[in-house]
């Protein structure tokens, strides 16, 4: 019988569900300009487990964007039970990053390559004056928004479409066809207009560009029907502006 490499034999893949307040981070992905969520996880996991850990994230959120349930995986030979890792890790992480759960997954589970349904919320505080306790998690916009028109516009985007017009020109991705499964716009009692979008994949800045375009619809600069043309033209300049990051929260990812 062949002698198995002990380290290889014991390695397992762990999935983390990660919540964070993105205000003080330069986004998810490691980069030279400042501290990121990925970097914090890599550093504290490596320290905790005594191995060099590199997590793979599902949604590489931008600087200032929040999350209630982003997903990351990593491989480890640790003997700490998978479910306990989140508690040990949270002891080391700052209070603006909290791992909500940890569990073992099959070694071929990849958070970006496996089919998933991601939900994002974009929140706009739509009233006469800003509210300090909402400033970190909403975009303040004082011109009155017509929520029904925004919903009608969003309805045109649901389904499989080429979202090239809703993709930052900074990216070089070739296939810009994506599927939005559902989209809902509503106003809360506190005058927060929430745009909730679930889809199987998103392009760079896609939700923020959709939010910016829906705001243009909400103030009457665009009509809901204009979405048809904007999609067809496949040109970033056809859509509205990119709404600012603090309004965006990655709500969670569902892997069926």
């Amino acid at each position: 019988m062949e002698r198995m490499d002990e380290n290889t034999a014991k390695r397992k893949r762990i999935k983390l569900v990660v919540a964070y307040d993105g205000t003080d981070y330069c986004g998810w992905q490691v980069q030279p300009s400042g501290i990121t969520i990925e970097e914090m996880l890599n550093r504290e996991l490596s320290d905790l487990l005594g191995e060099e850990i590199r997590v793979i994230g599902a949604s590489r959120t931008d600087s200032g964007v929040h999350s209630l349930g982003n997903v990351a995986v990593f491989d480890t030979a640790t003997r700490i039970p998978a479910e306990k890792i989140c508690y040990a890790l949270n002891q080391r992480l700052p209070e603006d990053i909290v791992v909500q759960s940890s569990c073992e997954v099959p070694s071929d589970f990849h958070p970006r390559r496996c089919y998933s349904e991601k939900t994002y919320e974009y929140r706009i505080l739509n009233r006469r004056l800003p509210m300090p306790t909402l400033r970190r998690y909403t975009y303040f916009y004082y011109r009155p928004l017509q929520v029904e028109k925004m919903q009608q516009a969003l309805d045109y985007l649901v389904g499989e479409h080429d979202f090239k017009s809703f993709c930052s020109v900074k990216t070089a991705v070739e296939d810009t066809v994506r599927t939005i499964l559902s989209g809902k716009v509503e106003r809360t009692l506190e005058d927060v207009v929430i745009i909730r979008i679930t889809g199987t994949g998103f392009l760079y800045n896609m939700v923020r560009i959709i939010a910016g375009t829906l705001i243009s619809v909400g103030i009457g600069e665009l009509e809901p029907e204009d979405m048809i043309q904007i999609l067809e033209k496949r040109k970033r300049s056809e859509a509205g502006p990119t709404a600012p990051p603090q309004g965006l929260t990655m709500m969670g990812i569902f892997y069926p």
Copy 2:
């Protein structure tokens, strides 16, 4: 005809409704240990109006406590229309203090001496793990709370009572009889337990001590009926602990 003093003739009393994120302030009232909301208002109003301004606040909230609608008044000889003052003032204030409105009130209007109904909310995030985006505005408490029992306990406190047991011993106030008009405890979909209390007056730390006592009820350390005894004993040590400040928000003040 007697010559009127021009300055006196023109002076008017202005009422401000002030919202703030209390996280980075040492409470409302001016004090040597750090920057306060009152101090910020005095400084920026004096600068804006070119007079020495001293505001009088309705609720002297503690360090770390938030407000959506605290009230302050001041007297001024300015010619800026009363309704415009809030916009000019907000230009100068930091983003964690936003004056929601400004208007002229009778010169005998005093925010603490006039009859008023104040509403406070105490928010407890009651789940297994903290959520970073809620940490500034909730108190994280992981032991499961029985909301129905908390409501029953709060019901005993509604009405006119001597709240000496629910008053910080740090204060020297003599009359500790206050009236709670209504009290409601509910759990949101996000597992935030909200304790909402409206009353005509509150003692020092009263809402936070009520919240701490209701938490003791919620975990079964106290029974709802124990509120009767606690009120009767008129002793701070009979009630539960003072819940931490970040969970408390002064919601607004109604002057009929």
